[in-house]
């Protein structure tokens, strides 16, 4: 760690991991509600648990992105953070606002929360992933602007590298596209169309810029490969992400009342969306193979490679599975979507944040890498979480395939709830996989506290 203000990342990462635990606890709760419908009913109905599960994911990933930016940007810009006090202040504002919102979801009925937060003045609540009260949304905008300002000033007054400029572009895009969450017209088709300007342009647009730049940064650090080579890869990956992903948004417009031409445009462009993820995989493996040093932080290298592979599988392959209009006609809004959602979020965004944490945490704790035992446990937790997520994805894919056949495709389609009953075995197994994931997460947290032999330093070759 070269600059003191990089250390601010630590509080962000700790909060991220704590909220991650909350997210998974509610995940396994919902998993159980899928097969034991009355579990915690009516105290925590499914819709409340789901809001907590998805909103915690978004909030902790944002904590992760912010922490990553605070760690990465000073070092890339070769100066201290522009305003460290602002970063600390925003941390507490975001944590308190996020915490109160989650408590609101759990402690009062959602309609009452809407009333308490005066949703009527500017109704923005009650749309998937954007369930936050309007006042929380305004808070998110304030935190995002202060954050982008802080990072932006650091970059603009410091050394500009491709990595910090791409990261900054991604973060500005994140803040700008969130503004669409305030647009909630009465016309449902219009509402749905522009809702995707937040959701799609985040996860299949600007977040890919953030992800690629974080991955590029860690790969430079752990492999010592020439920056020129890595920057060229970074540019071409994000170029493909935007070329495929912007018009690729059309794959969400097939069945919501938008013009029919989206079926062609959406199918063709979103079919290209796996390309940037495939390139990320090639990129990660090629630079690790060309490494000029063996970094003592083996766990971070594994997370980086894992991110590239799992993002390609989850976002790329599982996205492609149901992205063509003739297939999506049958699979839209089934467990196939859920399968893709789980592996894509885990593979791309969860894992890239965990990669950054794995690389930077030891440095912030005054070591080059975690001790031998801690790394061994961290690597074991990597496999537990990753393989159980693969299992969750495969089980939901099996459930989804059967659902599509029974409910949408067969000669005599069955009602939704009848079909759900027939899928119970897949849901039970998914719940088991979810519990293994949760154990993996606990092991991951334990690894930070494990004592053991410090890693031996391998003499570094000149950079």
């Amino acid at each position: 760690m070269k600059y003191e203000s990089q250390g601010i990342a630590k509080m962000y990462f700790i909060a991220a991991i704590a909220l991650f635990v909350g997210q998974i606890l509610f995940g396994v709760t919902m998993g159980l509600q899928y097969v034991m419908g009355d579990f915690l009913f009516p105290e925590i109905p499914f819709n409340a648990a789901r809001m907590v599960h998805t909103n915690l994911l978004i909030v902790w990933l944002l904590f992760g992105f912010m922490g990553s930016a605070y760690f990465l940007v000073p070092e890339e810009a070769e100066r201290e953070l522009y305003a460290p006090w602002l970063a600390k202040l925003m941390f507490w504002i975001f944590l308190v606002a996020g915490g109160l919102t989650i408590l609101g979801y759990l402690l009062v009925p959602y309609a009452r929360l809407a009333e308490l937060t005066m949703n009527d003045l500017l109704p923005t609540m009650g749309r998937e992933f954007l369930e936050q009260p309007t006042i929380t949304k305004i808070g998110i905008v304030i935190v995002a602007l202060a954050f982008v300002f802080n990072i932006g000033m650091t970059v603009l007054t410091g050394r500009k590298t491709v990595i910090n400029l791409v990261l900054l572009t991604g973060l500005v895009g994140l803040a700008v596209f969130f503004l669409f969450s305030f647009y909630n017209p009465d016309n449902l088709v219009l509402d749905k169309y522009f809702w995707w300007f937040v959701v799609h342009l985040w996860v299949e647009g600007v977040w890919e810029l953030i992800m690629a730049s974080l991955l590029a940064y860690v790969l430079i650090k752990v492999t010592g490969v020439d920056r020129e080579v890595i920057e060229k890869w970074l540019y071409i990956i994000i170029a493909m992400a935007l070329i495929s992903g912007l018009v690729g948004m059309g794959h969400h417009f097939f069945w919501i009342g938008a013009p029919a031409y989206w079926q062609w445009l959406g199918s063709v462009f979103s079919a290209l969306e796996p390309i940037p993820f495939f390139m990320m995989t090639l990129f990660a493996f090629s630079v690790v193979n060309k490494r000029r040093r063996d970094h003592p932080n083996k766990a971070a290298v594994l997370w980086a490679l894992g991110t590239a592979v799992m993002a390609f599988l989850g976002a790329g392959v599982w996205g492609f599975l149901h992205t063509l209009a003739p297939i999506n006609y049958y699979t839209h809004g089934t467990q196939i979507t859920a399968a893709h959602g789980h592996m894509a979020f885990y593979g791309a965004y969860v894992m890239v944040v965990l990669t950054m944490i794995s690389y930077s945490m030891p440095l912030m704790r005054g070591k080059k890498a975690a001790n031998v035992t801690a790394q061994k446990l961290e690597i074991r937790s990597f496999w537990m979480m990753t393989l159980s997520m693969v299992a969750i994805t495969l089980l939901l894919t099996a459930a989804g395939t059967m659902q599509v056949y029974l409910q949408r495709y067969s000669a005599e389609p069955l009602p939704f709830m009848i079909v759900q009953d027939k899928l119970a075995i897949f849901y039970w197994l998914r719940e088991v996989a979810g519990l293994i994931f949760l154990s993996g997460l606990f092991l991951y947290i334990y690894s930070f506290f494990a004592k053991g032999k410090e890693v031996e330093f391998i003499a570094e070759q000149a950079e």
């Binding site: 919902m30 509600q33 034991m36 419908g37 009355d38 009913f41 009516p42 499914f46 819709n47 409340a48 789901r50 809001m51 959602y110 309609a111 809407a114 009333e115 009527d120 109704p123 609540m125 009650g126 749309r127 369930e131 491709v162 009465d186 016309n187 449902l188 088709v189 219009l190 749905k192 169309y193 020129e228 060229k232 890869w233 540019y235 071409i236 994000i238 170029a239 935007l242 070329i243 912007l246 018009v247 948004m249 059309g250 969400h252 417009f253 097939f254 069945w255 919501i256 009342g257 938008a258 013009p259 989206w262 006609y329 049958y330 809004g333 979507t337 949408r408 389609p413 009602p415 939704f416």
Partner: protein, 145 residues
């Protein structure tokens, strides 16, 4: 990558491609918004329907159901529920109204939202309006949603 493909070229593809396709997206969005009145059933978008959309939102219906395939997958698709319930808003209202407060032992059950008569009418009208949206290929594939 080969030396003939320089970083400068990669950068130009990024900026050029990114800006070009952003402009394409904006153009297509303008066209989409202009042609929506043909499909979006806005001629039936009354004040009651708008109020129904609010009821839909503040009770977080999307947290369990899907609507035109988007939302959660825990409870049935509601984009065509008006058709499925025999084209009767009364049937929709009765279903919502008589949900048991404590659920059904061992099974998924919709919560009792204690909606007023006015809210029930609004949500039913909203679901009727949604059913009238002309989706491509008449999605969903069949009445089961």
């Amino acid at each position: 990558m080969r030396e003939t493909f320089t970083k400068g070229m990669a950068r130009n593809i990024y900026y050029g491609g990114g800006i070009f396709f952003l402009l394409v997206l904006i153009g297509l969005s303008v066209d989409t918004v202009r042609s929506l009145p043909k499909t979006d059933n806005s001629q039936n978008l009354t004040e009651t329907v708008a109020a129904g959309k609010r009821v839909w939102e503040v009770n977080n219906c999307i947290g369990c159901h899907s609507l035109l395939g988007e939302g959660a997958y825990f409870a049935p698709e509601l984009g065509n529920v008006y058709t499925r319930f025999g084209e009767s808003t009364e049937n929709i209202k009765a279903f919502i109204k008589y949900r048991p407060v404590d659920g059904i032992p061992g099974r998924r059950s919709m919560p009792q939202f204690n909606l007023t008569e006015e809210e029930l009418e609004a949500i039913a009208q909203f679901l009727k309006y949604t059913d009238g949206i002309k989706t491509a290929r008449n999605w969903p594939p069949n009445i089961q949603g």
